[in-house]
């Protein structure tokens, strides 16, 4: 579940999923998969045993795989976790296009699901009973994995957004925690004035971050209906975002540091990057990446775009999927369900993962967990509330990985030149439309 959507390779070598992949896997799976697979069939497969290969970098799966093998001694889970993000997708797409070496279970982030499901790279899990699990998950993640009556994966984790802020810095300069983005802008000015080396946040243009903020602001730039898509960044929500963010850029209130770099971790640690609006999975990264700032940071609800508005959004998050070319789909599904809907969930939450299941999010034990890193704060309460306030009608493009890969070529200009954000978003829109048309989508303007 990584969210550096801005990195180059981020996109995917779906390359030939299309060209050769379709010939390799097209047709065959669609029909065969529609017949229902009973729980008995799955149990029989578990009893019979076999090997499955799982490509997933989510660290808590290691324990889950071990537990699963203990429970079903005849099943051997081969967990491959060294690859993440772009490298993972490149390998997955290459395997799919070659029709060989495809894993039985693959982690796929929500924003990339559309591309794989559209190209028939993934199995529909509804016949295995996944459609009956809908009520277990919060709406955001479920909306991401399902498409009509088809289910392309089970949500593994989610990233309801929160505002992490460095309390030490805020206290030092007597800045109040902003509850709206306007207050956030004021806080940014006040902080940078008090300490020219300190910034309210870092941002050099990050597709995942920007789309999440647009989502929160109520903008719905992407409309997707099968192969018909519409892309339009000219709506009220986008305007709200542009207004505030353009000021932050123009007044040089954002640290010119890219996320997930060495400098970024340093900035989070030394107080020069004072807030971070991101997914609720962030605490684990704080602990391992910014150990020297233990006790300084706190979590808060996202600032609102309009006073009193509670709307939140998702940032990051991923699912486990069963590729269409999996050789052992029953076992693959059994593992997926165990990890993301069954006993595995508790194990994973215990190890610090942020769940996508309602039961865990609402459990008292989860909500009252005290985070040493946040000075004993019960941060999960904030995250759970955010999860409940995520608007579920957002959709990504079926070629979002490509769109994200060119974000910095277009919108990025607004951060380093005279181009405005609005112009940048327009350029992004045009480039995305052009690509969509080239790929045979019907693009409405």
């Amino acid at each position: 579940m990584r969210r550096t959507t801005s990195r180059i390779l981020r996109g995917i070598a779906l390359v030939s999923t299309l060209a050769l992949g379709v010939t390799a896997c097209g047709g065959s799976d669609d029909d065969s998969d529609t017949k229902a697979v009973s729980a008995g069939d799955i149990q029989a497969a578990l009893d019979k045993g076999g090997d499955i290969t799982v490509w997933a970098w989510e660290p808590t799966l290691k324990t889950v795989a071990a537990d699963f093998q203990k429970k079903y001694p005849k099943v051997k889970v081969n967990l491959v976790s060294e690859r993440s993000g772009d490298k993972h997708y490149t390998a997955l797409s290459n395997a799919i296009s070659a029709g060989k070496g495809v894993p039985d279970v693959a982690q796929v982030e929500y924003f990339a699901l559309g591309q794989y499901s559209l190209t028939k790279g993934l199995s529909d899990l509804a016949p295995y009973g996944a459609d009956k699990l809908a009520s277990k998950y919060t709406p955001g993640p479920w909306n991401a994995v399902s498409d009509g009556d088809k289910v392309y994966g089970l949500p593994m984790d989610s990233g309801p957004m929160a505002l992490f802020y460095n309390k030490t810095v805020f206290d030092k300069y007597k800045i109040a925690v902003p509850t709206t983005w306007d207050e956030y802008l004021d806080a940014a000015r006040k902080l940078h004035k008090a300490d020219p080396k300190a910034y309210i946040a870092n941002d050099l243009g990050d597709a995942g971050f920007t789309t999440s903020l647009l989502w929160q602001a109520g903008s719905r730039p992407y409309k997707v209906d099968g192969t018909k898509v519409a892309i339009d960044f000219d709506d009220a929500g986008a305007k709200k975002f542009e207004t505030v963010w353009q000021k932050l850029i123009d007044e040089k209130l954002l640290a010119p540091v890219s996320g997930w770099t060495d400098d970024w971790y340093k900035g989070l640690g030394d107080g020069t990057i004072a807030t971070l609006a991101t997914g609720a999975w962030m605490p684990a990264n704080f602990v391992s990446g910014v150990p020297n700032a233990t006790g300084q940071w706190r979590a808060a609800a996202m600032p609102a775009w309009t006073q009193g508005d509670k709307a939140s959004a998702e940032n990051g998050g991923s699912s486990l999927t069963v590729p269409a070319l999996s050789q052992n789909k029953e076992l693959a599904y059994a593992f997926t369900e165990y990890a993301n809907a069954g006993d595995g969930v508790a194990t994973r939450v215990g190890e610090g993962a942020f769940p996508a299941t309602k039961a865990e999010l609402e459990s008292p034990a989860f909500q009252s967990k005290k985070f040493d890193y946040f000075g004993g704060q019960e941060a999960n309460k904030i995250f759970a509330e955010s999860a409940a306030n995520v608007a579920s009608d957002w959709s990504y493009l079926p070629f979002q990985p490509y769109a994200n890969s060119i974000f910095n070529d277009t919108v990025g200009k607004a951060y380093v030149s005279g181009t405005t954000l609005a112009e940048g978003l327009k350029a992004w829109q045009d480039a995305s439309i052009k690509y969509g048309e080239e790929q045979g989508f019907t693009v409405e303007k």
Partner: protein
């Protein structure tokens, strides 16, 4: 280009050179302090990044975050880092090291062998298609390799080679520069008369090659071996495409995987191990260069054929 290039040494050493000077024997020219100082600047440029690497491999993740990059942190954790590098994730770094060695032995070794044979053929035989070969080699090298990655991957996949060491080793077997170097070297180092003499004596071509040519080629072979070793050791893009099983990763790919852990959720941020691992990755090569210095320098210099 030569004029622009040579302009600046004239500035630095010019005065000395132009004044009439005592004749010295060519073997013992006068040492020049200014020139040495200039070279020292060049060395500084060369080593500063390396010094950064060494200094930072002594720091913990916390130390990295709150200390100046070109100075030691309060903690000295080099030994801990080295130990952690080798024990992290069940010691997979060691496995990557062994993989890299395997790729170097078979890949670079094989590349050298092919280059030696090919270079010998180009230098000492006339055969149909000879003129075309190098033109084709240079031409093919000019096509961007990244774009060939996917076609190559698909071909290899059909042959069942992907995700095996062969997928890395086979493409490493071609070293156009090695071929060129051996061609030139063989042309200079092996007197054609020697070959003719061996053939007169009734030696087969294979025997002539091994008994007459090969010993003469030794310095060149070491040189090519060193170049192909570097290429294989530092190979990154190809394994990235070809390998899915991390157990077959070479060091470069493994380090990059560790580095991108900082970008995953709950992923351990281990820049300290990435840096220490980088240092450990380049040390063996540097050691090889130092220890084999005598051989490859004479090989490159083709000194053996000096009249």
């Amino acid at each position: 280009m030569s004029t622009s290039v040579t302009a600046s040494p004239a500035k630095s050493t010019g005065p000395k050179l132009r004044t009439p000077r005592k004749k010295h024997t060519p073997g013992k020219p006068k040492r020049n302090v200014l020139l040495t100082a200039l070279m020292a600047l060049m060395v500084l440029y060369t080593v500063v990044p390396l010094i950064w690497l060494v200094i930072n491999s002594t720091k913990t993740q916390a130390g990295l975050a709150d200390s100046n990059g070109l100075w030691l942190a309060h903690d000295f954790a080099l030994w801990d880092n080295i130990r952690d590098t080798f024990t992290y994730h069940d010691g997979i770094f060691g496995r990557w090291l062994l993989n890299t060695l395997l790729y170097v032995v078979l890949g670079a070794g094989g590349a050298t062998l092919l280059a030696v044979l090919g270079g010998y053929a180009l230098a000492k035989f006339a055969f149909p298609g000879k003129r075309a070969i190098f033109a084709v080699v240079i031409g093919a090298v000019a096509v961007p390799g990244t774009a060939l990655a996917v076609p190559t991957f698909l071909m290899f996949s059909k042959m069942g080679l992907t995700d095996t060491p062969w997928a890395v080793i086979i493409p490493s077997l071609v070293s156009p520069f090695g071929l060129y170097l051996m061609w030139v070297f063989a042309a200079e180092a092996i007197p054609t008369e020697l070959l003719e003499a061996a053939r007169m004596d009734g030696a087969s071509e294979v025997r002539t090659f091994f008994q007459v040519a090969l010993p003469l080629l030794a310095p060149g072979i070491v040189t090519v071996l060193l170049f192909t070793t570097v290429a294989t050791w530092n190979n990154y893009f190809l394994p990235l495409i070809m390998l899915k099983d991390p157990n077959w990763y070479p060091l470069t790919l493994g380090l990059s995987a560790w580095s991108s852990q900082a970008q995953t959720i709950g992923g351990d941020v281990i820049f300290n191990l990435v840096i220490t691992g980088s240092l450990l990755t380049i040390l063996p090569l540097i050691a090889a260069f130092l220890f084999l210095q005598k051989y490859w320098q004479s090989g490159l210099a083709a000194g053996s054929v000096k009249e």
